[in-house]
């Protein structure tokens, strides 16, 4: 059987879904748990073909639900296997019960998410609410904005999550369709590079008959807090590991990412967008265009939301006069009565002595593209706020107002 990581470095034109599948192949995963739901399905279709072709030696399990997908992943990871699973939209929600048990038992399961709007009604479009609703369950989480970044994030997430100092599951997210189904050039590495970067998975306490252990026995209330504290600390400790791994990734693969934040044209900017994911690609074009016209606008893209880089967000956003949070998620009745990202941005800024004004933009909802003229419109709103020096309206549903 050919090995999973055979092959020399090459550039291929693939979409985000296939990039994620390629990453799983390079990581030589042992168990794959699949269940169909659009749009992430294409990842599992690609993996099924790789297994059928003998390009990847893995147990490919067609599960009976997302709940089972995550339980299969939990069981396989607990036994010492490297696991890959994924989902979208309501599928992410169907598996909700398992998120805390998996991070609580410190199993570094990897889950690919291609976002999809939640029901009702059945909408294929992308919205980050599916994954974001699980953001406090102890999973490392971040968004890619293109297929190359998705591939890279999947490889890095295995390395980070499986690090004995971390041992946490990872949600590697990408926008449905905007990233998952748009093809672009992706550089696939040399097998030797991956071997150097990603050591084999080795959990310190797997379910092995030669070294019996009990996973997850019932606890008394007073035994709960120390375990929760350990999980919280693992999340905090992961921050140093995340930086270390990004550094090593840059050395081996030649692509350097700031693990937390991408700043685009923020030099001398007064107003900036604060956002995650694929719409940042359009934002870059819109900002370039506005900069040509002399507007002082920039982009701050959050790459990792869990663990949340509070100090970094504070430090970066404090440089500007107005921050426009592009939500692409729903936080019904939340702080801004818009999305949940607003609260994350504001909380980080609370301790700053130079707090910018913060606006929440409900844009990219239901899977609609955020087109360039919407970026211009939002910039106008931010500049009006800058001129006034105060917020008149906290949340704007883009496309519903003059």
């Amino acid at each position: 059987m050919p090995t999973a990581t055979a092959g020399k470095k090459k550039t291929v034109r693939i979409n985000g879904c296939v990039a994620a599948a390629q990453a799983a192949k390079y990581a030589d995963v042992d168990v794959i748990a699949a269940y169909p739901i659009r749009p992430y399905t294409a990842t599992m279709m690609a993996l099924a073909q790789m297994v059928a072709n003998g390009e990847l030696d893995a147990e490919y399990i067609v599960a009976d639900s997302e709940h089972s997908q995550l339980s299969i992943s939990h069981g396989a990871s607990s036994s010492g296997a490297r696991v890959f699973t994924g989902s979208s939209g309501v599928g992410v929600q169907f598996a909700y019960e398992l998120y805390s048990p998996i991070s609580g038992s410190r199993m570094p399961v990897q889950m690919m998410i291609a976002d999809r709007t939640l029901d009702p009604p059945g909408d294929f479009g992308s919205e980050h609410t599916d994954a974001l609703s699980t953001r406090d369950m102890g999973w490392l989480m971040g968004w890619s904005c293109d297929a190359q970044e998705a591939f890279d994030n999947h490889l890095m997430a295995y390395r980070i999550g499986e690090d004995p100092r971390v041992l946490l599951p990872q949600m590697v997210c990408q926008d449905g369709f905007f990233v998952s189904h748009i093809t672009s050039d992706v550089e696939l590495p040399d097998a030797g590079q991956v071997k150097e970067f990603l050591p084999p998975y080795k959990h310190p306490y797997p379910l092995d008959p030669r070294h019996p252990v009990s996973h997850g026995p019932q606890i008394m209330p007073e035994q709960g807090p120390p375990l929760q504290l350990e999980r919280a600390r693992a999340m905090e400790d992961s921050m140093a590991v995340i930086e270390e791994v990004h550094e090593e990734f840059a050395k081996i693969f030649g692509r350097r990412y700031d693990p937390w934040i991408e700043e685009f044209m923020t030099d001398g900017a007064d107003v900036v967008f604060f956002m995650q994911g694929g719409h940042a690609v359009t934002a870059r074009f819109a900002i370039q265009h506005m900069r040509d016209q002399g507007l002082k606008v920039g982009l701050v893209r959050l790459r990792t939301i869990r663990p949340y880089p509070t100090d970094r967000v504070k430090e970066v956003l404090s440089k500007f006069k107005v921050v426009g949070v592009i939500e692409t998620n729903m936080g019904l009745g939340s702080v801004s009565s818009g999305g949940v990202l607003y609260a994350e941005a504001c909380a980080a800024l609370y301790e700053s002595d130079r707090r910018p004004l913060v606006l929440s933009f409900m844009a990219g909802m239901g899977g609609e593209a955020i087109v360039r003229k919407e970026f211009y419109w939002m910039t106008e709103k931010m500049m009006e706020a800058q001129k006034r020096g105060k917020i008149e309206k906290r949340t704007h549903w883009v496309g519903f107002e003059e």
């Binding site: 042992d30 147990e59 339980s71 396989a76 036994s79 048990p101 008959p209 009990s214």
Partner: protein, 354 residues
């Protein structure tokens, strides 16, 4: 990377000269994968079953415990009764978590990441997990034919949460979700889901069997047959619950026999090779259901007509097994023939005290 062939264990079948005999069997392994030190109730049927089944499996075994008594009462943090690896999983994850463990070992052995014989992978699910919330996950594991054994320790209720009705609770069974009262004199109105038969019918490539703690050697042999079968196996075991059934604690094994002798728990095997049921198991004697019911407080409220209904149910089970019914059992299915049964008033008083 070369593919390594997976080696599987073959466990010997024990000599079983007499189904009902209680005697020391020197062929039993001395290993104890399930040891004392847990917090189960006195006379706990599921834990008796646990000891027998894990003993039959031996030390190269991994146990999976979905939420239920055998999770909560067995495992206390920093103190565990399992001498083999054990993992808790969610109550709805019985089949899926187990499938994950089995798939991991298939891949890890094949890819040279773990060396040794394929371990016995056993899931111990309660009847709430197996018949209700985890049904789909177990069906999925059986359908996909992972090499594992899924045991349902059937105590006919959600006992760990304080005795609530499951779809395995028998007709007439009192639980906190099916109490008797003037509007519902029989308590539970529904008949139990025929879970084991469902598993056999829906997954005919699997080894499926029923057993009872009343017949330890038969139970242990079925565990070994299920483990020796290459692929998925399902075993449904009657395990009385002293707390929920309300009986004298030393009588757990007696109940394990009476339930079979009264025809309320047919013991059979489904052979995946022959694609046929084997109904040849016969208890030492046949008895009317009242002999089983009268030992348990959960049936204390039943009227003669309810007992006759249960006798009718038992008689159907006997007929299904191809057993000719003796005249007294046919007579007992008619409420008119049931004498010395509690009156409605007396039954209400009994229900009050239990």
């Amino acid at each position: 990377m070369a593919t390594i062939e997976v080696q599987r264990q073959l466990l010997p079948i024990l000599d079983n000269p007499n189904q009902g005999a209680r005697f020391y069997n020197p062929d039993l392994p001395s290993s104890e994968p399930f040891v004392p030190g847990h917090r189960t109730c006195a006379g706990c049927g599921p834990s008796i079953q646990y000891r027998m089944t894990s003993k039959a499996a031996g030390d190269n075994t991994i146990l999976v415990g979905p939420t239920g008594c055998m999770y909560v009462a067995n495992s206390s943090y920093l103190c565990t009764p399992y001498n083999v690896p054990w993992a808790h999983t969610q109550i709805g994850s019985a089949g899926s978590f187990t499938a994950g463990v089995a798939a991991a070992y298939e891949a890890m052995i094949r890819k040279g990441k773990w060396k040794g014989d394929f371990p016995n992978i056993i899931c111990e699910a309660g009847d709430g997990s197996a018949s209700d919330i985890g049904l789909a996950s177990i069906s999925g594991a059986l359908y996909r034919n992972h090499d594992c054994l899924i045991i349902c320790y059937d105590n006919e209720q959600y006992a760990n949460t304080g005795i609530q009705a499951s779809s395995r609770t028998p007709y007439g069974g009192m639980t906190t979700f099916s109490p008797p009262g003037p509007m519902v004199p029989e308590a539970k109105k529904l008949f139990p889901k025929d879970l084991a038969r469902m598993m056999a019918a829906g997954h005919p490539h699997c080894y499926v069997a029923t057993a009872s703690v009343g017949y330890p050697i038969d139970l242990m042999n079925k565990v070994r047959k299920g483990l020796n079968h290459k692929g998925a196996a399902y075993l449904m075991v009657y395990t009385p619950c002293q707390k929920g059934f309300v009986y004298e604690t030393p009588r757990s094994i007696d109940l394990g026999r009476l339930v079979v002798e009264c025809g309320l728990y047919p013991i059979w095997e489904w052979s995946p090779e022959k694609r046929a049921f084997d109904y040849s198991f016969r208890p030492a004697s046949m008895r009317p259901v009242s002999e089983y019911l009268k030992l348990q407080g959960r049936f204390g409220h039943l009227h003669a007509e309810h007992i006759a209904t249960l006798q009718k149910f038992a008689n159907e089970q006997w007929r299904m097994m191809g057993v000719a019914l003796p005249e007294p059992l046919i007579q007992a299915a008619d409420a008119k023939n049931l004498v010395n049964m509690a009156s409605a008033v007396e039954a209400a008083a009994v229900a009050e005290t239990v």
